[in-house]
Symmetry: C2
Subunit: 312 residues, 2 copies
């Protein structure tokens, strides 16, 4: 059970290690949506995504004894960098298992934080087996990407910052992959802004959260395929329970809608985001009837994208 | 003579019509430069560039009688949008003369503010003649792009905001085209942060300010050619006098250096900028010996770029 106090403590714990990222607005995007939009720029967060909030909150609760053998995880992207950053902050080693297919920009960034990267086949089984081997050899502590209270509490601090800066929000929108950001945001709304409704956006090609939410039974992703590479993971069970309780709706968006929204954000908000971040604005444009005339916060979850492969 | 009071009044006058844009930092860019960098994001300004500061400061000083026939100017880009925005704010018309070669994204954006656009051949003579015809027909008031005290006072408010937010700056860096932003920034430093040295960056292919500054005699650009399309204009005489007095140095950067710096800003700062904005960071990387260990503010002047034609 994650209490209000847990989230407040997480925020105090990590505050000096993360950015309170700016919230940007655009009258052009407001006009396009027919709503008042507040974009929380986690693409400006350290490592270029919200992930260090959770990873650092986790790492700071380990003992010196636990820390001394390093931190480890498997991740194709932003969580890898977040764990590497946490290890760097705490003067310990980071061991990261990455699929061979991970974007080069994310591999280089992870190595840039001093992490030791081990590659594996691009499937969950290979990732878990390779990680088990790494752990056996190093005794490093595993930092889970989303399915853990400490991670969820850390990710909740992003929405908490939004509520501290913008009042009377009708909606808070986040993408959903593993569900760390969504569960944390929904809890933060529950405690710090109970009149704000939390809605998630998910790519059609990785719709496990949507299907799980509708049926009430956790179903994993099978061969997910979407341009939103940060949202390929399946929902975690701890996350799912919180999402069932505190999230109002999950809507699907197509890759085409994601690309269109992404381009509009580059054009008018002038920020670099990765496709996952564009899902929420794609949903606002797709479901205008829900958000019309409302005050809506959107979390731009990250900005780690291969610039040579922009889809426009 | 532009006094401290003139700049303070300009700021009060325009404050509610512009954004006090955020200042971003990046530990990676700091490490690359060996300096502490503060990026003032005028790419987030209304119309996507610093230009409305000057145009709105000018338009707000016109009488109702002067305003009623509209505003006009010639511009290939950001100033066109700024004048159109000023006209929209003051409920009057905007007549904009643009070269046929202006980037489509800038033409569309100008029309988006309700401006009436007249195209002409892409040279200064055609621009001035076409504008004279437009003025004769409409009696609209000409808003100059840079060579006017009211424009310079408006552009000075950008540096004033920087000094209000970041203290002990050793350097303030701006690009130089017509010299409105540079002259305004240099004056603002003189009045609000006299220990800060102002240095400008200019593309090698449009080096009129560099040559004028060195020789002390104003020489115009001849067939300028650079990827930094916002810096093709020649220095104005009013601007030049202020620059001679208050600017410490102008350094040249190549298009290749501009593109490299631009890519690093997209990658690490996660913001969309146009090539002109990248000149200042290109200079920091090129002349590391000057800025090493210093606190340096860089004005990212604008973000209006054709995304389909990014040079990387």
């Amino acid at each position: 059970m994650i209490s209000k106090k847990h989230i407040e403590n997480a925020h105090l714990r990590i505050q000096s290690h993360i950015h309170n990222t700016p919230i940007l607005t655009s009258s052009k995007l407001n006009a396009l949506a027919g709503a008042e939009l507040f974009f929380k720029c986690e693409n400006f967060q350290k490592v270029g995504a919200f992930k260090p909030r959770g990873a650092i909150n986790f790492a700071l609760q380990l003992t010196q004894e636990e820390l001394k053998n390093g931190l480890c995880t498997h991740s194709s992207g932003n969580h890898a960098q977040a764990v590497s950053l946490a290890a760097q902050l705490l003067n310990t080693s980071a061991y990261i298992v990455m699929p061979e297919t991970a974007p080069e920009v994310k591999v280089l960034a992870t190595k840039g934080y001093g992490a030791i990267v081990t590659f594996c086949a691009p499937n969950l089984q290979a990732r878990e087996e390779t990680l088990a081997q790494v752990q056996q050899k190093t005794n490093a502590v595993f930092i889970p990407p989303y399915n853990h209270e400490w991670i969820i509490e850390g990710q909740a601090t992003c929405a908490k910052e939004i509520f501290e800066e913008v009042n009377h929000l009708d909606y808070l929108l986040t993408p959903v992959g593993g569900g760390g950001l969504l569960a944390g945001s929904a809890l933060a709304a529950n405690y710090f802004s109970p009149k704000t409704t939390v809605v998630a956006a998910e790519p059609e090609g990785a719709d496990d959260a949507y299907r799980s939410f509708l049926s009430g039974i956790l179903v994993p992703s099978e061969n997910p395929k979407t341009i939103a590479d940060g949202l390929l993971t399946s929902l975690g069970p701890i996350n799912f329970e919180l999402i069932k309780k505190h999230v109002s709706e999950i809507n699907l968006v197509t890759d085409e809608e994601i690309i269109h929204a992404m381009k509009l954000i580059y054009l008018h908000l002038k920020v670099v985001i990765e496709p996952s971040s564009a899902t929420v604005f794609a949903m606002v444009l797709k479901r205008k009837e829900i958000f019309k005339g409302k005050r809506v916060a959107l979390i731009l979850s990250g900005g780690n994208v291969d610039l040579a492969k922009l889809p426009f």
